[in-house]
Amino acid sequence: MTNETEKLLDLSKILEPYSDEWVALSETGEKVVASGQNVKEVFKKAKEKGEELPILTKVPKEYGNYVL
């Protein structure tokens, strides 16, 4: 295993336009490559755009404040 550090995933700006959608991020997490209402659709769209293993996440309407 390497000792490298994964780069900070700064999603504070790029996710803002995708409220209430699932998104697929590029492998590095630097850009959104596909978005839509469900995981299967978004995963398929991202693969069609050549992103073999996109990072999936939901963008909620509000990220809120958690105490878990």
């Binding site: 390497t2 900070l8 995933l9 996710l15 699932w22 999936l56 939901k58």
Partner: protein
Amino acid sequence: MKFSYSKFPSSPNPAFPDKKHVKRPVVPIEVKYNGNKIKYLALIDSGADFCIFHAQIGEALGIEIKNGKVLEFYGVTGEKKQAFFHNISIIIGGWEKQCYCGFSHEFDENKMPYGILGQKGFFNLFKVSMDYEKEEIEPKHKENC
């Protein structure tokens, strides 16, 4: 391998008037089942008893969610929910581990947009150190697991 914290959009509020983003221990993990693989963001949550992912992630992997063993669980809101447990693999920082993990249709993605990495399925397999100031998370796999 070390991970960085992830930053998400947020808004100022009376308690934190300067808040522009929120920094959380959210890391990309790979979830694997039957040769299918999805990369997904998950929150490291030492307060969770087990790992739980959104049902849509399991369905996209080809898992028949309701064929799993059922568990009723409570979130912080106190609402009772159901999850169905399946044996899958998760890959974190290059380490692939077997994980008995719950999938739930009631795990509201608008309230919790990330998968949850909890005690059973994650903390029992990894020793995790987190440094908020340095924005670093370091999961080290336990040799005997």
